[in-house]
């Protein structure tokens, strides 16, 4: 697949790296040669030029591209670039935007007609992810398909979890309602076999069906908490989108250091409490009574500060913490520090792009990018390879596993004897760098 990425900023660079591991043909377009130089040693091609120049788009071969991703810092430029690329013959275009209005359903046709097939608004997606985290405080990641018929959760296992210390093979009695897809242990994610033992402090990615979710909570030694009060540190765009989504439902307080921004937020979010002050200041934290909140969300500009204040909030008695961590290097570090959920815009954007890659019709595909693995939902097509044999005989490589499927609206877990049928929706869990294999199997 030929993919053009316009803009080598944080998101663009991350995407380019990820996709080059996925064995796709990547061309990165950016006017700044220094930013392109960072990508020199990756298996991709960089071209210096502007995303909104017809000449440059021609040079990168927009006419024969399968996917055009515009992720420059400017919304209007991204939209224009997508329109230009589409008119030149690119099959599918994706633009990064930063205003909530554009993603409203009633405007979709306008953008599709103008040549922008898909819009990514990372801040909005991030806010949505936080909403999910608030609903399911006991998990790190929550991935549901078809309205929750089938659910994949990432759970940190403590000593009190019933499944800790058992070999997967011995979990036979439970295999009816849970399936461990992957284990993240010491920064390494593995797809386990029957002989692997689940250990304390592992993050297990477990698939289950809707009716059994409560039993999974129990098996993992977790309790569900009801969230009522949410404290948000930092008033950036994610905070604003989040406030819009949850302001009426929960009691939300936002602490923001900049007075002007506070006024804007107060205007925008009438249901939220806005406090002017530096949230990393312990005094303010205590004054605002951090310990009384159910969830602490750290969304300041610096990843370090977010991580540290989450650790602090946890010490002060907050049950669930959420941190925005933009430095990829820090993500793994933060995960090992017991921070409940980590929000990373690059990963969120990657998820959307993988979705676009996996399916021509995005409504049928869904994807969640983790730091070193992806969870993807797709539809099994008529005549695809996976329908020919039982799952155990498919010869799936060791870096992927089929977690479950939804057939006729009912979720089922998958084991070796399952045979996939056309029309099934399946959830696949795979380690980074193997999404392209899925494409082949299901294509």
């Amino acid at each position: 697949m030929k993919i053009i990425i316009a803009g080598a900023g944080e998101v663009g660079t991350h995407l380019a790296k990820m996709l080059s591991y996925e064995k796709q043909d990547i061309i990165v377009l950016d006017p700044d040669s220094r930013r392109l130089a960072n990508l020199d040693n990756y298996n991709l091609m960089t071209i210096q030029g502007s995303a909104i120049s017809f000449d440059d788009l021609k040079r990168v071969g927009a006419g024969s591209a399968d996917l055009f991703v515009a992720v420059t810092p400017f919304e209007t430029r991204n939209l224009l670039a997508c329109m230009m690329a589409k008119s030149m013959g690119t099959k599918r275009t994706v633009a990064r935007i930063d205003s909530g209005e554009f993603i409203q359903k009633q405007h979709k046709s306008f953008f599709t007609e103008s040549g922008v097939d898909s819009l990514i608004y990372p801040e909005y997606l991030a806010a949505n992810e936080i909403v999910t985290a608030l609903k399911h405080t006991w998990v790190r990641n929550w991935f549901e398909m078809l309205g929750g018929e089938l659910i994949v959760v990432g759970v940190k296992l403590r000593a009190n979890a019933a499944i800790v210390g058992h070999r997967l093979r011995d979990l036979g009695s439970m295999s009816g309602f849970l399936h461990v897809n992957a284990i993240k242990r010491n920064r390494e994610t593995i797809i386990p076999g029957g002989n692997d033992v689940i250990m304390e402090n592992d993050v297990a990615y477990i698939a289950t069906t809707r009716e059994h979710i409560d039993r999974v909570v129990e098996m993992c030694g977790k309790t569900k908490h009801d969230v009522q009060r949410v404290l948000i540190m930092g008033g950036n765009r994610i905070a604003a989108e989040l406030g819009k989504l949850i302001g009426e439902k929960y009691k939300v307080k936002i602490i923001e250091g900049d007075l002007e921004r506070c006024r804007v937020l107060a205007d925008l979010l009438p249901y939220c409490n806005i406090v002017n002050g530096d949230a990393s200041d312990t005094d303010i934290m205590e004054e605002e009574g951090v310990g009384d909140y159910d969830v602490f969300v750290a969304l300041s500009d610096t990843s370090e500060r977010n991580i540290l204040s989450c650790v602090m909030a946890k010490e002060l008695g907050v049950n669930k913490t959420v941190a925005e961590v933009e430095n990829m290097q820090f993500v793994a570090e933060a995960e090992s520090l017991n921070i409940g959920t980590i929000i990373n815009k690059q990963l969120i954007a990657s998820s959307r792009i993988f979705q676009n890659m996996l399916d021509r019709d995005v409504d049928n595909a869904k994807c969640l990018a983790l730091t070193d693995a992806e969870v993807a939902e797709l539809e099994v097509l008529e005549g695809s390879k996976v329908t020919r044999r039982m799952v155990r005989d498919l010869g799936l490589s060791s870096d992927m596993t089929i977690a479950g499927l939804v057939r006729d609206g009912v979720g089922h877990l998958v084991n070796g004897d399952t045979r996939l049928l056309p029309g099934d929706h399946v959830v696949v869990f795979c380690l980074s760098g193997s999404i392209h294999k899925i494409e082949k199997l299901f294509g």
């Binding site: 030929k2 080059s20 591991y21 064995k23 043909d25 990547i26 061309i27 040669s33 220094r34 020199d40 040693n41 990756y42 298996n43 991709l44 091609m45």
Partner: protein, 494 residues
């Protein structure tokens, strides 16, 4: 975990890669073995068979016994592999010479092999006509393999290097200031480049065979030409043994193989003739060839060289192209007419062909940047507040790149002088030392004075041969890749 003073380098993965590359080399050795069998040279065929067997066994043992625990290849591993693979290739590539008894000692054999792979074309052998065909063919073939690059070949045919590390290998083996890719994936780029190379080889060999050259000589000369290597099949050399038709064919292909292959691909495969017109480097390349061959021609006329005007035109063009592309097919002994032509040739070697071609030298791209930058510097002496930029192909070049180019050229000259000084220590006359050093660093292979003439390198002291063999490698990999290995920070944590 104890802390090591040394940088962590993943040696097993480097050795594993080398093992695989050796298997490829062994495969290449089977070709001259076939040639030897065809010419009924049983001992030579046997020596190639034995060499291939030794290489395969070594490679297989290395793959078998060395199990890399991690597959990561970072910058250090990439640099180390790119540099060291040439040493390994030469160590195993010299086996046929030793086993067949063509060359008796290791020093000479290693020198000859390194000169082959680096497309330098300096030789310790004399009496080419009496050498076994298998050996002659292997010499040309080594140049052919080395011309486009060992790593590049592997990238094109085997997927194993097509990982992140593979790209840094590509960057450290392919010549040039920046590394323009033809296609998004490095393996595709490598394939396109090798395709051009193969087409050149086939076309040129056919053209030579259509003339009255034997198929064996045609193949050998073709491989030595498209790689701009310069090994011959007879002592007399191409100039005296060949016809005008052959000279022209060789000249055309030397010229083409001194052009950036990416540019050729764009023009031929994509029909982008604009690329040619807007390429400053190509214009300079053509201009320098015309300027130098005209100077040589005029000088020859004054001095009364050669039989006729036609011969002088042919000779001046042939030698200019042969020098600028660092091919080094010897023609005339210029020293007898004073140093002028020799020094012109030496300048041309320094210039070299275009980056991204198979030619050696400092590359004309860099010379162009140097000269343009010099012009800017001089301009700024008068207009001290002027803000200037070096423009290449209509675009201004980043300052860091200009600095890198100038640093490159300074180090190039430094290496050239240091080796020359070392040679004079070994009793080589001063001009000969300078000329030989430049010729070796530029992967040219011409000799001068004591090193002039077929096989004259044999007479050099042992130390000089090792030194020159090393210099060839430094020149072929464009300095930085090899010299970085000699820095403290490469090995030791500070």
């Amino acid at each position: 975990m104890s802390r090591s003073r040394f940088q962590h380098i993943n040696y097993p993965i480097v050795l594993r890669m080398i093992a695989w590359l050796l298997l490829i080399e062994a495969f290449f050795m089977l070709v001259p073995m076939g040639i030897a069998i065809y010419f009924n040279e049983s001992r030579v065929a046997l020596s190639f068979g034995a060499s291939a067997a030794i290489t395969v066994i070594s490679g297989a043992m290395m793959t078998f016994f060395i199990q890399p625990t991690s597959k990561t290849m970072r910058k250090r591993e990439g640099l180390l592999l790119t540099a060291i693979v040439w040493v390994f290739f030469s160590l195993f590539g010299m086996l046929p010479f030793l086993l067949s008894g063509t060359i008796k000692n290791v020093t000479d054999a290693f020198f000859e092999t390194m000169a082959g792979f680096t497309t330098t074309g300096a030789t310790v052998l004399t009496g080419m006509e009496n050498l076994p065909h298998g050996i002659v063919f292997w010499r040309s073939m080594m140049q052919w393999i080395g011309g486009m690059g060992i790593i590049l070949f592997t990238l094109a045919v085997l997927p194993m290097l097509n990982v992140r590390g593979g790209v840094s290998l590509f960057n450290s083996e392919v010549t040039g200031i920046t590394h323009e890719k033809l296609r998004p994936r490095v393996s595709q780029t490598a394939k396109q480049l090798w395709l051009i190379y193969l087409i050149f080889t086939v076309v040129m060999a056919t053209l030579l065979m259509v003339g009255d050259m034997s198929w064996f000589d045609s193949l050998c000369y073709t491989m030595a030409t498209v790689s701009t290597g310069g090994y011959t099949t007879s002592d007399a050399g191409l100039w005296f043994a060949g016809s005008t038709y052959e000279h022209v064919v060789v000249m055309v292909f030397m010229f083409l193989c001194g052009v950036n292959f990416t540019l050729i691909y764009k023009v031929v495969a994509r029909g982008q003739f604009r690329a040619l017109r807007f390429n400053d480097t190509f214009k300079w390349y053509v201009f320098v060839i015309i300027l130098f061959s005209a100077s040589v021609f005029i000088y020859m006329n004054i001095k009364g060289f050669g039989q006729s005007v036609g011969e002088r035109v042919e000779l001046s063009l042939f030698d200019t192209i042969s020098s600028i592309t660092s091919t080094g097919f010897a023609s005339y002994k210029y020293e007898v007419s004073g140093g002028f032509i020799s020094i012109l040739m030496m300048t041309l070697m320094f210039f070299g062909g275009m980056a991204g071609s198979t030619s050696g030298g400092a590359k004309i791209d860099r010379m162009m940047v140097l000269i343009k930058n010099t012009r800017n510097e001089l301009y700024r002496i008068v207009h001290s507040n002027a803000v200037t930029s070096v423009r290449v192909d209509g675009k201004s070049m980043a300052h860091e790149l200009v600095e890198k180019v100038i640093a490159f050229l300074a180090i190039y000259v430094l290496v050239f002088v240091v080796v020359a000084v070392a040679l004079t220590l070994m009793d080589v006359p001063i001009f000969d030392a300078l000329f030989t050093s430049m010729s070796t660093l530029s992967n040219m292979g011409f000799g001068c004075g004591v090193t002039d003439g077929v096989g004259a390198y044999a007479a050099l002291p042992v130390g000089a041969k090792w030194l020159l063999a090393f210099e060839m490698m430094v020149g072929r990999l464009e300095l930085f890749t090899v010299l970085a290995l000699f820095t403290r920070t490469f090995w030791i944590k500070d």
